[in-house]
Symmetry: D2
């Protein structure tokens, strides 16, 4: 399969390596030059614009930092939409807003192109190991076409519906649930620590009994050790996803009290100098509220 | 080992069966007569008062509904404390308050008796299958004496510290984390349902990827099916544990914003006629706030 | 003084009447024709575009529904900015976002025009009676020029700073405080009503003792009578101001827990069919959560 | 009228002075000796026990620190209830719990004594100036008998119902509304200060327009100046009233989201060393969350 890949960050580069390993023909583009070098060394052609990269591609995958980048690369000058053939599929795999996904749906339909959203769950290590979980949504023909490519980068694909934006909503919801785990553990650790119990013991009890999911182990471990730097997922990105969640919830008229608390945790974290830390550093607020000295 | 067992509810009866199966000599007491019959049929002697049951016991285990029952059985007329020998251990395995556990610590110390707390995580099925997780706390000599008994009813014992009440605090914290899972899933399902996505699909994606812990499967499944009756753990009991958590948090001066939201969910649930349902029915409030008709 | 007035809604029309009464020469514009008729009858010239209306004006006042309208009328085709003379002042008196106010500041500066923000507190009756309270901000020369006009429509002017957007922030903050009064009264009334106390009595006690401010009387009275229709200030407008407040708070990195609760009240109100009611109908949620039947 | 007055703190002493000034015959009791001296100097007889003080009294007024003191003085050894004549009235004027008020109702009824609750709004200065607002509740005959006494200490009496505890509920509700004013102003000031606006100006605008009630002036002024010491009403007392409110709300099954936030503010204040300050110092948390350095 001939795949155009736009966006060679940590996640994107790992995904390209897996696509190549699985026998796909990949043409790539990245805004800056440096990240293209190791990819080019794999035999991947590097093009000068998104439009050029998409010429003749069956599928164009975007994996970009945020809505701004995704919109510029897709709809901007020399953008993906200019180069993609009729009947080819754009699949957006980064975490973008529900609103932008709806906009892409319309723009591609107007050109006779297909569009699907397939955001991923997993950090760069998971991408490297082809272990991503993928939430996909789009019309059945689009999903059918992109499935081989998705299978080359993830361990499991979950199809959520026919509206691409539904996959984006699910992705934002998943990230919301992660923040709920972070906050609830932060409160739990603050309480038990003040009760004189070693947090390590609480962590072990929880993660070896009812809360054995990876997400409790990963984030519980980070909070336990206070290891918020270097960030695996930076504070402002976590905050952005919370904002996109709340925007989607506002449009759908759904109150989310837990998300509201998380929002304020992000704001307090940023106001108190933690913008460069991992998003799990919102856990510092619960400790500080309980009177613990936090760095 | 000679064990006195006080409290033959669903949980307690299952635990007694496992103690007998594992070769312990058990003498039991229960406030009402009916539940003693199947236990007596196992060859367990039934005594008329807690004090009588504790005569000659190495260990006395209490498994009672709430603080009121635990206090009456332990410190009341013909209570456990009257019958238990010096040097023997009382281990409280039900979910009681931190304050009552502290009171027991003092009362037993004054009599030269030992005291430990060892509340359990798990529903009656888990108790039956000897699969309970146990959070234990107490002086090392007390813990050492009760370990064989605990191993006969649970799959894993986590020792939290030397103050018995620390185990109670951890138990309340664990229940708090469960309620956070319930509320966060309720919000997630309300949001995605309003976005037109089948909840079944969201449930599968979550529980087969990052949120694979038993607690997400159990409670996600209950919410998904709206199966809140018959209750596995009744609304007022869940509410009581939230109250005990908040009381402990108040004493320790620890703000818990998520617990505050859960508190109000319990109150709204009770005010709206859901007192007889499973505690996971607090999930109905998020759906109702989002405009869904809930029964 | 020669004043261009753009936007003849209930508030704007009342303000124009007061400007005329106070001897100002007013030229007006409105998007639709109907509301211009009674104003024209006062001897006010009606122009076909905002730009036309602003020709030769010393001051151009905008009083428009929302950011969209304010931006179109100010910066759009044949907009205010096209017609306003160098050195003349645009004063925006409607409730707009901090971000848009910043945008106007720059756009006018680039044209050598002055800009100030002067949003008002008060319902149409107050506008009619020249009783508005005005929060103004802008450079001293701009404030000096507009003061006579502001004095003709309001009872008191409060200058908040030299950045126009500061007045907008204060206006949003004022509306936020009103919503806090609504929510706190809603909770107070739900609690005391369930305690068997007549709400009328609670209302009297509060408003005749510590809470004697107009805002408690006005909103307490509306909640007490459940008189949410016809709306004095419609639900979606209240919700919009909460959104603008939260956007400003996000930019400034300020957590606002009370505002977060209000946000969810607005969402629940809209999700449950109350979009056409007065914004104080968010009070219905507290009653419903307490188990009261609300229409 | 012959009045027994139990509790000579700041509030109680001021009230006794007004009772004497208005011609009542007062007999007093206080737990400690020192405060009785200036009262004795007014010609007030001081008795050795509450029971002794109540002999021959038409009315016994209690004005005590908390539930513990009120219960001991009323129902304890040599308590009020022992000395009060049949048909005489006990009126509890301090802020006590709804539950304790219910207990008093029963206890007095069993003795053929009357009981009313009449908690007051106002600080010691208001008590001194005979400017207290009084929320009273009780059977009509009890209310009729105590009215002359209440009129001698307050400026206005509001009768809430026939159940004494209703007055206590209203008092707790009033204090809750005050904390809502404190928190909402704290958030408002944090936001506008970060927007570069002088808090003094915001305070003036608010208190001279829509928020002209005494409560905004008093508490807004305290927050503005950061003048939290010496305390007018100490943090732990404010926290206690919040706790009693939440207990009453739990019994009545009424969720109170604003009260939940206030609860956590009190806990964070205490955990961060502010227990000796005025209760309005909970305002420091909003400032700290916004990144302001607070002492």
């Amino acid at each position: 399969m001939h795949i155009a890949f736009l966006g060679l960050g940590n996640m994107g580069s790992a995904m390209v390596r897996n696509l190549v390993k699985n026998g796909h023909r990949v043409v790539a583009w990245n805004r800056s030059y440096e990240p293209t070098k190791p990819i080019h060394a794999l035999g991947v052609a590097i093009e000068r614009t998104p439009a050029d990269a998409c010429k003749d591609a069956d599928i164009a995958i975007t994996m970009l930092a945020d809505d701004g980048a995704a919109e510029a690369v897709t709809l901007g000058k020399d953008g993906l939409i200019e180069g993609l053939a009729e009947g080819a599929v754009h699949v957006s795999m980064s975490t973008i807003s529900v609103a932008l996904s709806d906009k892409f749906t319309e723009a591609h339909a107007a050109r006779g192109q297909l569009y699907a959203a397939a955001p991923v769950f997993g950090r760069p290590e998971a991408a490297e190991a082809q272990k991503l979980f993928i939430a996909a949504a789009g019309k059945p023909d689009a999903i059918a076409k992109i499935t081989p490519a998705l299978e080359s980068v993830g361990q499991k694909i979950f199809v959520m519906g026919e509206e691409p934006a539904q996959a984006n909503l699910v992705k934002l919801t998943g990230n919301f649930l992660i923040t709920c785990v972070i906050e609830s553990l932060a409160e739990a650790f603050a309480l038990t620590a003040k009760g004189g119990i070693e947090t390590q013991k609480v962590f072990e009890l929880l993660t070896e009994s009812l809360f054995s999911a990876p997400v409790y182990k990963t984030y519980g471990g980070l909070i336990l050790e206070g290891k918020f730097s270097p960030p695996g997922f930076k504070m402002p990105l976590g905050q952005k996803d919370n904002r996109l969640l709340q925007q989607a919830a506002e449009k759908l008229e759904v109150p989310l009290p837990f998300a509201a608390i998380i929002r304020d945790r992000f704001l307090a974290a940023r106001a108190n100098g933690d913008s460069e830390l991992d998003w799990s550093a919102i856990a510092k607020r619960a400790a500080e509220d309980a009177g613990f000295e936090v760095k």
